[in-house]
């Protein structure tokens, strides 16, 4: 499929964020911040019974979308802003579109707008630079 400015990246749906994976992630990251695994302790933040997904996991859904689109080694740069929490049990949608293509005879790069949303609310947004196949 030809990639050009305006091309929509096939979206990736995350039906329900798994709170158990946040515990594994906390161990891998050696992350002591309890908001990721102590649901009862989150009462003071107004989300008792819920845990907050780690930022890298939020970004991973966009990364997975990009890798499914252009291959597992396609990512050259990710520049993102976190604008809201993702909570355990959330259903999410990862989306993106091409906003610029540049390069030369040896490289072809797509600059893409990417975003992660929950029922239309953007929780993470930014840009990705993606390597495209050179014909």
């Amino acid at each position: 499929m030809k990639v050009e400015v305006g091309t929509q990246i096939p979206s990736l749906e995350i039906p329900s964020v798994d709170a158990q994976k946040m515990k594994t992630m906390a161990a891998l990251l050696r992350d002591p911040y309890p908001i990721h695994w102590d649901a009862e302790g989150n009462e003071k933040m107004g989300i008792k019974g819920k845990v907050v997904n780690q930022g890298p996991l939020n970004l991973s859904y966009l990364v997975n979308m990009l890798m499914q689109w252009q291959g597992q080694d396609c990512i050259r740069r990710l520049t993102v802003d976190f604008t809201g929490w993702v909570l355990g049990g959330d259903g999410l949608s990862a989306s993106g579109k091409v906003i610029e293509i540049h390069g030369d005879a040896d490289t072809k790069l797509a600059r893409c707008e990417i975003w992660l949303e929950r029922q239309g609310e953007r929780l993470l947004e930014g840009e990705a630079i993606i390597a495209l196949p050179v014909n």
Partner: protein, 149 residues
């Protein structure tokens, strides 16, 4: 007590000890599983390893970064953003040298009158041939509460 602005500004230029870090197959497997992605091929590491591998490889930790930033309460740290550059894909079983520092601290005020510190650190990865592999810059928000009048 809120960390003084003078103290926070003194953190700019704080270099992490630096060191080496290899992504083991088992941890990449678990990390990739956490993302819900199928496992990657040809020894590739999941790109989000660029969060914790630089931190751990530079011989710091999230705990130490919280201590440096004088983080105390649950909810007092927020993640504002990342700027991650990949010059090569990350791979399992490659020893990466990791060097970095705190590059920016700025005390700011929210629209609702609460103080926070923008806390930015950046770590670069090099491969065994000393070629640049990636650069991870993280932007954190350290919330300090309301301005006292």
């Amino acid at each position: 007590m809120t960390a003084s602005e003078e103290y926070m500004m003194s953190l700019v230029g704080h270099k992490f000890p630096g060191g080496k870090r290899t992504i083991a197959h088992w941890e990449n497997f678990l990390l990739t599983d956490c993302t819900t992605s199928p496992q990657l091929k040809n020894g590739l590491a999941h790109p989000i390893a660029l969060f914790h591998i630089p931190i751990q490889g530079a011989q710091t930790s999230i705990t130490e970064l919280f201590e440096l930033g004088k983080v105390k309460d649950v909810g007092s740290v927020g993640l504002d953003g990342y700027d991650w550059e990949y010059f090569q894909p990350l791979r399992e079983e490659v020893e990466y040298r990791c060097d970095g520092e705190i590059i920016e601290v700025e005390r700011r005020l929210t629209k609702s009158g609460k103080i926070y510190d923008r806390f930015v650190f950046s770590i670069e990865l090099y491969d065994e041939e000393n070629q640049p592999v990636a650069k991870a810059t993280s932007f954190w928000r350290l919330r300090r509460g309301r301005v006292e009048s």
